[in-house]
């Protein structure tokens, strides 16, 4: 329950004007994606699906049209991370770092596909790297803080 409240608080932060202080090239990091991945690494598949669905649903409430892009993207994130978790030792920093980078890229690609079906525009830009970069920075900061706590 605590994590659900944390997700709500992060959503409010991500929606508020405070987010403008950490944007790069008009892109803001998606803390909720990182939270979802970290949640999956520590919880069961069923519980992660619930959590990912909840976050995706909340983000989709803000979308301009009837869209389930975030819901689908977050559920796929859960499925992908769960399958990776089964075969690789994921508590390693490098593996987690790669998962975040890869899933951020998958997130972009999925939404590009959704936009294509909605509007007919297939749009990929180099600026999307700013989004992956920001997500990795946020994850790095979280990891350092977490390690410091443990130490």
């Amino acid at each position: 329950m605590k994590l659900y409240i944390l997700a709500l608080l992060i959503l409010i932060f991500q929606t508020s004007v405070l987010i403008k202080y950490i944007t790069v090239s008009n892109f803001a990091p998606d803390f909720l994606s990182i939270l979802t991945i970290l949640y999956v690494l520590r919880h069961s598949t069923y519980s992660s699906l619930k959590f990912g669905g909840f976050i995706g649903f909340l983000q989709d409430l803000f979308s301009p049209s009837f869209s389930v892009a975030n819901l689908v993207s977050k559920l796929l994130m859960v499925i992908f991370t769960t399958s990776v978790k089964r075969v690789i030792f994921v508590s390693n920093f490098a593996v987690q770092f790669l998962i975040i980078a890869l899933l951020s890229a998958v997130d972009i690609f999925l939404k590009v596909i959704f936009v294509y079906f909605e509007t007919g525009f297939f749009y990929l830009s180099l600026e999307f790297f700013a989004y992956i970069f920001l997500n990795l920075i946020v994850f790095g900061v979280y990891y350092i803080i977490n390690e410091h706590k443990k130490g």
Binding site: L11, I12, Q14, T15, S16, V17, L18, I19, K20, Y21, T23, N26, F27, A28, D30, L32, Y46, L49, K50, G53, F57, L58, Q59, D60, L61, F62, S63, P64, S65, F66, S67, V68, A69, N70, L71, K111, F114, V115, E118, T119, F121, Y123, S125, Y131
Partner: protein, 260 residues
């Protein structure tokens, strides 16, 4: 286990169907308003405090120059009033419709942004109570910024012109060609269905054009940055530079139609 998954899928489908109606969305935005608005105020106070510390000297100089500018603008207002009267007389003579007289302007503060990077929307602190309606146009820095798509009691959601779902009828200022503008990203938009015969020139300004008077004509949208045409294709590919900066925009003006 299978039953639990099925239950979960049905629950998600039910919530999607129930909660994605505009009315339910509006209630959600209004619930967030008491949180988003104070946060925007706190953010302003902090940024003002730090900028005061940093730029005290520069502020004094800026203040002095602004005072001078105010005086200049006051003088300009006097001459503009004279021109307005003259304009009114000429309009009456020409029997010209004064389209902007049918609209009023409401200023609003941006209090929130989209929580993902894919939908280009902002939230402002003006809603039904200030008379805003769905479809009203929004301006910032003297240019078209977006359109109201959801109206709550206290807040509204604005779809930016850089969003791919944003579409509006427009025209080119010099050649008066009617075009359809669609958002592409925060830097550029695209003109769709431009036939090869249409006179579209790089550098021309694209502005709003309303066929039913639901919004005013002549609001600048952007400048045509490139025109591409491949022989044999049905339409030209025209990009419009818009250079939208939602994160550095604090206030917007909403153009609302006056009630008759």
């Amino acid at each position: 286990m299978k039953k639990r998954y099925m239950f979960f899928i049905f629950l998600v489908l039910f919530l999607v169907l129930l909660f994605f109606t505009p009315k339910v969305k509006n209630i959600f935005y209004d619930t967030l308003y008491p949180v988003l608005y104070p946060l925007s105020v706190v953010s302003d106070e902090f940024s003002q405090f730090f900028s005061l510390l940093k730029e005290k000297k520069a502020l004094i100089e800026e203040n002095n120059s602004l005072k001078k500018n105010i005086e200049l603008l006051k003088a300009e207002i006097v001459s503009l009033k004279f021109l307005e009267l003259e304009n009114q007389k000429l309009r009456t003579l020409l029997n010209f419709s004064q389209s902007l007289k049918d609209y009023s302007f409401v200023s609003a503060k941006i209090i929130g942004y989209s929580p993902d990077n894919w939908s280009k929307v902002v939230f402002v602190n003006a809603g039904k109570k200030t008379g805003i309606k769905k479809g009203d146009l929004v301006l910032a820095n003297g240019k078209l910024f977006g359109m109201v798509i959801n109206v709550g009691n206290l807040s509204s959601k604005i779809l930016l012109i850089g969003d791919k779902n944003f579409k509006i009828t427009a025209r080119t200022r010099k050649t008066r060609e009617t075009v359809f503008f669609q958002g592409y990203d925060l830097k550029k938009g695209i003109l769709t269905l431009v036939s090869p015969e249409q006179d579209i020139r790089v550098g021309d300004i694209v502005e709003t054009e309303s066929s039913d008077g639901s919004y005013p004509d002549g609001i600048p949208i952007g400048v045509i940055s490139s025109v591409e045409y491949v022989e044999g294709e049905f339409f030209k590919r025209v990009f419009v530079s818009i250079n939208l900066k939602p994160y550095s925009t604090e206030y917007v003006v909403i153009v609302k139609r006056k009630e008759k």
